[in-house]
């Protein structure tokens, strides 16, 4: 792996060096995955902007971006084609294109590319196909991976950053290629095709008997018309079998290739981190190259020494020690055990002392403001301690996973400067 070299002692979490990852010409694909609502799309967009401004020819494939984020990337129109993002600094020789996935159109394009025109028409107008390609859950995952394969095949970009769909399970897209294979290979589908293809007489007899019973049942369940639609569809699809399966396998191999880097995105919440842990294990099982964990929305307490977003982790570490977090990893992800020096002034004010002081000030009306500020401080310290605890738990059970973190933002990221800043915070942190 390209990223993940330790910056300090072995007991501390590995630092995920995102800039090194993005700058490495060997890195061709970055896949952002994780639970819903953890900032996957924002992370993908931000890293794409940063890579482009550091000189890479980058394209970002988003699946279902929030409106404002889509606008910031110039994605008002869903046309399934990458478009240049305005406002990106190209001084370093890079560029940024962005696109939003149109799953139906992607599916249609595959059909058109792989079937001869008459067959293609047959498929595209088949009612079963129309439903399958536009309405049914699961198609999005197939098509996201298909689009990734297509973008890669053009060779037009040297870095592709992909967001993953808001799936039932965050792993659905990994399964998409193999599931497409099993769809095409499933005995049920083969059975549909058998009458047209079976060779030997005995074989035909056995199979068609089973087929007759099954078709009878299916006809009773679904009505003859749908069964016919499905059969026509499957028969038409059969001509494209090879193409489909080959592509699915290619995409799967592409995901395992050394030029691919998976980033698991999470935030300090039990569910998100549980999903992240699951994902880390699954990627290992699939031999998919994991670059590391991106931890968004970390509450931190900044003492004002050094620039925001860089020193915060360290300062919260100091503050956290004050509220009695177990000391083993008081420095946590952020500090790597360094960088707290010289900022001890407020780092030693504990939440308890701040609250006690606030209570004392309550008796003095003109000190209402300071009392409020101290309560806010205590609240922030407690939030930082909770986030730190959750993050440390993940780190202690996944010591080999490199981590990059971004501080919680008071307001949501929604424009290009915001994305730039967010990526800078992610890349800069934790030295």
């Amino acid at each position: 792996m390209t990223a993940g070299s330790p910056t300090t002692g072995p007991a501390l979490p590995l630092h995920l060096d995102l800039d090194a990852l993005l700058d490495d010409p060997q890195t061709r694909i970055v896949v952002c995955c994780g639970a819903g609502g953890v900032g996957k799309t924002t992370t993908a967009a931000a890293l794409a902007v940063r890579a482009a401004e550091r000189g890479r020819h980058t394209v970002v494939l988003t699946i279902d971006p929030a409106k404002r984020l889509a606008q910031s990337l110039g994605l008002q129109h869903l046309d399934n084609t990458p478009r240049a993002v305005a406002g990106v600094d190209t001084a370093a020789g890079g560029s940024l294109d962005a696109m939003m996935l149109d799953m139906k159109r992607t599916f249609d394009e595959i059909v058109l590319a792989h079937a001869e025109p008459r067959r293609a028409h047959q498929i595209l107008t088949n009612p079963f196909y129309v439903s399958l390609s536009s309405s049914f859950a699961g198609t999005q995952e197939y098509m996201a991976m298909e689009k990734l394969g297509q973008l890669h095949a053009t060779g037009q970009w040297d870095l592709i950053v992909v967001d993953t769909p808001p799936s039932r399970s965050a792993l659905d897209f990994l399964d998409a290629p193999s599931r497409l294979g099993s769809f095409l290979d499933s005995r049920l589908i083969r059975t549909f095709l058998v009458p047209a293809k079976a060779g030997g007489r005995i074989y035909r007899k056995i199979v068609t008997t089973g087929f007759g019973v099954a078709t009878g049942a299916m006809t009773r369940l679904l009505g003859g018309r749908l069964l016919q639609d499905v059969q026509t569809f499957v028969a038409a699809l059969d001509t494209m079998f090879g193409g489909f399966r080959e592509r699915a396998e290619q995409t799967y191999r592409l995901l395992q290739a050394p030029g691919t880097a998976f980033l698991v995105v999470a935030m300090p919440e039990a569910d998100a981190l549980r999903e992240a842990a699951y994902f880390v294990d699954r990627l290992a099982a699939e031999k998919m190259p994991l670059a590391g964990l991106v931890l968004n929305q970390m509450h931190t307490v900044d003492t004002g020494a050094g620039s925001a977003g860089v020193s915060t982790g360290g300062d919260s570490g100091g503050a956290v020690a004050g509220v009695g977090t177990p000391g083993v990893r008081a420095g946590g992800v952020g500090t790597g055990g360094v960088g707290t020096g010289g900022t001890r002034g407020s780092g030693t004010l504990s939440a308890e002392r701040a609250l006690a002081a606030a209570e004392a000030l309550d008796a003095v009306p003109e000190q209402e403001l300071t009392a409020g500020l101290l309560r806010l401080y205590a609240d922030r310290v407690a939030a930082a301690a909770r986030d730190r605890r959750l993050a440390d738990r993940f780190i202690s059970t996944h010591p080999a996973v490199a981590v990059a973190q971004a501080p919680a933002q008071p307001v949501d990221v929604g424009d290009l400067p915001g994305l730039r800043e967010f990526a800078a915070a992610l890349s800069a942190g934790q030295r």
């Binding site: 929030a66 439903s131 859950a137 004392a360 000030l361 409020g372 500020l373 806010l376 922030r380």
Partner: protein, 325 residues
């Protein structure tokens, strides 16, 4: 009197990370009063309900989770598409040997893992069955609360039967799909949306309401989760918002409280106040947008110590107080 009298199926959706499962559980508890039975069901195989109630993983057996705060019972169910399909084969279609042939051919596997969409048909079908199940003394459940898919997929999920009814034009599947469509589009079903007071969840809520309406589905309430009171008094917030908190005032206050008024601490307190004011300002703008969505709005407080059973009871009572149950 609840705002949702007559609703038999409550579906919870919302952007990922907004606390759908928590709010669904709180609503189930709130509905479970005076001997009423409420079923809390999940469809995504996450075991979020079991985790929330700190109990063994749920399966296809409806199991009592807890008594509601006011004398009812909440049951839990994890709807599994494979089990639902087997149940269909035996219960509804009396397929017998043909069913076994289908199973041998991999129809169950096909329907539940490979064929996209069929899964959703089975999941919604089971929720429909539970919501309409009758015993001799009336409905088996006063209401079913479904912890549904996130906003990005909810309309497709609930509308899948329309699609199926259109594809299978005759036969039992057609009829079954039609009945489910009628049910989920009737006032007996309400789709509630959870959100946070943040830009993206609120935007997704607005988009989902438009999508659900366009599909003819009944939008219920907007449930604003994790609401917190401002930690600064209005005057302090105003000062913070305009960056006019005087360092000298803060330093004097710290000294008065016996704390070291170090410049670094003063700067931190001011910056935190400014961030907090920006957050509060954003939240009040988002709150106004939510109010403008034209749906009943309920607010649920942020549970400082995380969500546990006591916290769920607290949320359930908040929902009852606001008329959600």
């Amino acid at each position: 009197m609840s705002d949702w009298e007559g609703v038999r199926l409550h579906v919870l959706s919302g952007k990922g990370g907004t606390g759908k499962t928590t709010v669904a559980a709180a609503l189930a508890l709130a509905l479970a009063v005076e001997g009423r039975r409420v079923l809390l069901a999940e469809v995504e195989g996450r075991q979020g309900i079991a985790r929330l109630f700190d109990t063994a993983p749920l399966d296809y057996t409806e199991r009592k989770l807890t008594g509601g705060p006011r004398g009812g019972d909440v049951y839990g169910l994890a709807i599994d598409p494979e089990q639902a399909l087997r149940e269909y084969f035996t219960l509804f279609y009396h397929l017998g040997p043909a069913g076994q042939v289908l199973e041998r051919l991999g129809a169950i596997d096909f329907a539940t893992t490979i064929a996209p969409g069929l899964r959703d048909v089975l999941l919604t079908g089971k929720a429909y069955e539970a919501a309409r199940r009758r015993t001799r003394s009336g409905y088996a459940y006063h209401a079913v609360v479904l912890d549904g898919p996130p906003t990005g997929r909810i309309t497709r999920f609930l509308n899948v039967n329309t699609e199926v009814a259109g594809l299978a034009k005759v036969g039992p599947v057609h009829n079954q799909a039609q009945s489910i469509v009628r049910f989920v589009k009737s006032p007996r079903t309400a789709v509630h949306l959870t959100t946070l007071l943040a830009d993206m969840p609120v935007q997704e809520t607005a988009d989902a309401i438009a999508d659900l309406r366009a599909a003819g589905l009944q939008v219920g309430a907007v449930m604003v989760n994790q609401v917190r009171a401002p930690l600064l008094a209005p005057a302090g917030l105003r000062q913070a918002a305009s960056g006019r908190i005087e360092p000298a005032t803060v330093a004097a206050g710290l000294a008065a409280a016996g704390l070291d008024p170090a410049a670094g601490l003063v700067a931190t307190l001011r910056r935190q106040a400014e961030d907090h004011a920006a957050r509060i300002d954003l939240e009040s703008r988002e709150r106004a947008i939510v109010a403008g969505l034209g749906r009943p709005v309920y607010e649920l407080p942020l549970l400082a110590d995380g969500v546990d059973l006591a916290g769920l009871y607290e949320l359930a009572l908040a929902l009852r107080d606001q008329g959600a149950a």
